[in-house]
């Protein structure tokens, strides 16, 4: 009688998108893989919940890097290769930005034409005449950087080849998005603001966000658009889990991994809260390095000082605060006309928004998502599924404890609802059928993630993806142990996490090959 095999090639801690992506790739190479997920659902935060018989998306979730079927981007290609079938629905617009203090009220759409012009450049030009050429030039630069980044995801090149073949990536790698926008482009301030609205999807202000990441985000979203699963994020997660299982992966719910077992600098297994000791020479870990080195490695003497320095120095990125509501009118009756609205109460300034995220006494920049416009069948007729989200830093919640928690949650939520209500001219508080308020504590409860982090470490200029890539090998501090979540190379987001998982599997396969050769 046993629940587990004596030995696995790889144990994956965490059955969210990165973990499942990693597991699928390893299984496709014939490896035996065990995924241990602490919750009884797959997908981590990429999930949904049901209230009063009606399903709601856990927060704002959209999948980038898919692109249309006829022109697939890299994540669609990967999911196709792994034979994961998901019923994707295309999100109608890229976004609306509403910033009344700047007189900004604009809706942009994704799309690039073969002649190198972009749909959103025309939309911006309609309000800011004469900017079309520069916006097109910016997006073409972003696209070049994007394509180079994807190339380097698969290949290694010398510095000279890099400069010759990926000039745009090389020449912008040392600058923030703000520097490149200010120095290399002649654009009115408002147009720069409009083109900065996506900052929230990486949680980094433009002044410290590497242009590489900015370019990746802009090109990907503006070329391929974004998508949601008809059966909510849970459909996506479950489709991946089922496919992984078909490929031979053993996927277990309700298994909290407490310890990662290490001997002589090499991983040899894990121990769960239930007390099972399970053996594998490779472990892919969704828990943050902070948790892994701080509490999970057994014995602790196996944690190199350099690993601690790394984890302690890494700047923590944002977490989430979301108000998810079901409303008793259809969207048009609530004056809601778009899927995705970014709005600001103050003149648009990502440094200001970022600073506000260190506290919880008012956030000027919120994202309002009306799922009905992307997925019309998501609610019964005559109702609206709406979420309002801000991405503050974990330290904003330093003063919150178990006794003031519910009060804190409600007071923040109320402020956010009133903010959006004022824009709409409709008091949403009069229409709530169901409401759930999600905080970093909610994330910590369900996923166990360090400080409720959803975005990994900051994509800052001193933690740039270019620097991460350069040092990726020497940051494998314990042999056989590989990070596999948004704290890894490409950072946050559902598509990025599928990629993080793929990268983790690649590192593991290379290590396995090396060890086999010895």
């Amino acid at each position: 009688m046993a629940f587990y095999k004596d030995n696995y090639d790889v144990i994956v801690i965490g059955g969210a998108l990165a973990g499942m992506s990693c597991a699928m790739r390893l299984a496709s190479e014939g490896k035996s893989v065990l995924v241990l997920e602490r919750h009884n659902l797959p997908g981590g935060v990429a999930t949904s919940f049901v209230r009063g018989g009606i399903e709601m998306e856990a927060t704002l979730h959209e999948m980038m890097s898919l692109g249309p079927i006829e022109d697939p981007l890299y994540i669609r290609k990967y999911l196709d290769e792994m034979k994961v079938a998901i019923d994707w629905l295309r999100v109608p617009e890229a976004y609306d930005l509403y910033s009344p203090k700047d007189n900004i009220d604009i809706e942009l759409h994704a799309g690039r034409r073969d002649d190198g012009t972009w749909v959103c450049a025309d939309e911006i030009d309609a309000q800011y005449p004469g900017t079309k050429a520069e916006v097109n030039r910016l997006l073409e630069l972003c696209l070049k950087v994007y394509e180079s980044t994807l190339y380097l995801n698969e290949h290694t090149l010398s510095k000279l080849q890099m400069l010759l073949k990926h000039e745009e990536l090389v020449k912008t790698a040392g600058y923030s998005a703000k520097e490149v926008l200010d120095q290399a482009f002649d654009l009115p301030e408002n147009v720069k603001k409009i083109l900065s609205a996506y900052w929230i999807y990486v949680g980094q202000p433009l002044s410290t966000l590497p242009f590489t990441i900015y370019a990746f985000l802009m090109a990907d979203y503006m070329k391929g658009g974004s998508f949601v699963a008809r059966g909510f994020s849970h459909e996506m997660a479950l489709a991946m889990q089922k496919r992984a299982e078909e490929m031979g992966v053993q996927y277990e719910y309700c298994q909290n991994v407490e310890k990662i077992l290490v001997k002589d600098g090499h991983v040899y297994g894990v121990r769960t809260s239930r007390g099972d000791e399970i053996h594998a020479r490779y472990v892919a870990s969704a828990p943050y390095p902070n948790t892994v080195y701080g509490t999970m490695i057994e014995p602790q003497s196996e944690v190199p000082a350099q690993a601690r320095k790394y984890a302690n120095a890494m700047p923590m990125s944002v977490t989430t605060f979301s108000v998810v509501m079901l409303l008793d009118r259809k969207p048009e009756d609530l004056n809601i006309h778009s899927y995705s609205v970014f709005s600001s109460e103050v003149p648009f300034d990502t440094d200001v928004f970022w600073a506000e995220g260190r506290k919880h006494d008012g956030w000027s920049y919120v994202t309002t998502i009306c799922l009905n416009y992307a997925n019309p069948g998501c609610t019964p007729e005559g109702m609206t599924s709406l979420s309002i989200t801000n991405l503050p830093l974990p330290e904003a919640f330093d003063d919150v404890n178990a006794d003031n928690y519910y009060e804190m949650k409600r007071s923040i939520a109320k402020q956010m609802i009133e903010q959006v209500s004022a824009h709409l001219g409709v008091n949403l508080l009069d229409h709530i059928v169901e409401i759930e308020i999600e905080s970093p504590m909610t994330v910590a409860r369900y996923t166990g993630m360090y400080r409720g982090g959803i975005y990994g470490y900051q994509h800052s200029m001193d933690n740039s993806v270019v620097g991460r890539l350069e040092d990726i090998e020497k940051e494998q501090y314990i042999k056989g142990l590989v990070g596999c979540a948004s704290h890894q190379l490409v950072g946050d987001g559902m598509a990025c996490n599928i990629n993080n998982g793929r990268i983790a599997s690649k590192i593991i396969l290379e290590e396995m090959a090396k060890e086999a050769a010895v």
């Binding site: 629940f3 049901v50 490149v180 909510f232 277990e252 719910y253 919640f397 910590a444 400080r451 040092d471």
Partner: protein
């Protein structure tokens, strides 16, 4: 293409790489791990709470109230009035769980020298209330339990609900409202509560003395008796006229009681044109007689089936009775599976159905769309109609 100039531009990658190395070198080599957010999350939602019974007292001729305190090393989490606690139980060979609305007030769990919570359990008829009857008869001071709390969405939400609340209670469904009433009295819950408590006879009233003691301008308590002609007070059922009489302007209705009461009260509220968002229903348990449930196959003869249970690479075969939920088959066989609400809503008993035909109770089916599509069931509210194979977590 240039940003500042060729040399500065091409050296950018080196600059960011060395900035990052410098950042990492600045990190402490000590173990300084601390996670405030996780600590708060764990205090709010402990995986389990070990509790001990400190008092058992009768609160009606048919109901007993148990007071629990945390065992040494554990701490009671905060909860919101109306939420429930799930107790792990071992009754004979059966392992099971039962949810009970917490009848004490939230402040009592977090303040004072002896933080506590209370569950009030009714002694049902011999053939019903298997676990409640057992608790009623057997639990005494000093007994310890593994408890899971807080759960449930049956609480006053000021962002959603009207300030005026009318509670429509039946039987042991009074317990969450006593919790609310007490929290209002304590000054830590701001709402106006009128409790209409339907009972057949005055003997069935639970917590009457306690409820009467905390009436105020914010808490009103009205008994509604259906089976005593000479009762001096409100008589009959929780009818639309009665509901109307005790409603005051914009009102939210909280309903908690046995299943037949839900159907009746829902009809009365609909007749009063109460909008859906002003009606909050507590979950009501799985139907006792599934054959009477809407959609159950006609003339399906009760049968015993083979239930193959997969956990990891292990396989067990047990017996499952078509008249009992799959969850109960597991529990009779002593196989642990998570369960909380036992009404199909919460999803803790989410289970993969690999083979076989089943019947899912339509009322309270809280499954996600993709779960239906991929063959997942909530075992507490799913009945076998053939031999089945399921996969459950290793617990």
């Amino acid at each position: 293409m240039k940003v500042y100039g060729f040399l500065k531009d091409v050296l950018g990658a080196n600059r960011v790489t060395s900035a990052r190395r410098k950042l990492i070198e600045s990190g402490s080599p000590e173990n300084i791990y601390k996670d405030h957010i996780k600590e708060v999350a764990n205090e709010l939602h402990p995986k389990v709470t070990h509790v001990v019974v400190t008092k058992a007292e009768d609160v009606s001729p048919t109901a007993r109230r148990f007071t629990f305190e945390a065992c040494e090393g554990d701490k009671l989490p905060p909860f919101q009035a109306g939420q429930y606690c799930s107790l792990d139980l071992r009754i004979g060979e059966t392992i099971t769980t039962r949810p009970y609305s917490i009848s004490s007030a939230p402040f009592e769990a977090r303040t004072g020298e002896h933080p506590l919570f209370q569950l009030t359990v009714r002694n049902g008829k011999p053939d019903t209330g298997f676990a409640s009857n057992w608790l009623y008869a057997n639990v005494k001071e000093g007994d310890t339990f593994t408890a899971h709390l807080p759960f449930g969405e049956f609480y006053y939400e000021p962002l959603r609900d009207a300030k005026n609340v009318v509670a429509l209670a039946g039987g042991s469904g009074i317990t969450p409202f006593y919790s609310m009433a007490k929290e209002i009295e304590h000054g830590t819950l701001d709402m106006n509560l009128t409790i209409l408590y339907g009972s057949v006879s005055t003997k069935d009233i639970i917590l009457e003395k306690q409820l009467k003691a905390i009436q105020s301008d914010k808490v009103k308590f009205v008994n509604v008796i259906s089976g005593e002609e000479d009762y001096e007070g409100e008589k009959g059922f929780l009818s639309r006229d009665l509901i109307k009489k005790y409603s005051n302007g914009d009102t939210t209705y909280f309903v908690c009681g046995p299943l037949p009461m839900y159907h009746f009260v829902k009809g009365e509220l609909d007749a009063l044109n109460v909008p859906a968002r002003r009606i909050r229903m507590e979950v009501f348990g799985a139907p006792r007689d599934v054959t009477a449930a809407e959609g159950y196959p006609k003339d399906f003869e009760p049968k015993k089936f083979r239930l193959t249970v997969l956990r990891g690479i292990q396989e067990d075969v047990i017996e499952a009775d078509s008249t009992e939920p799959i969850m109960v088959a597991l529990e009779r066989a002593g196989i642990k599976n998570n369960s909380r609400c036992r009404s199909g809503a919460c999803g803790f008993c989410r289970t993969e159905l690999l083979e076989g035909d089943v019947f899912v109770a339509p009322e309270g089916d809280g499954r996600r769309r993709a779960d239906k599509q991929f063959g997942y069931i909530h075992a507490c509210s799913t009945w076998p109609l053939s031999d089945c194979t399921i996969r459950i977590p290793i617990l």
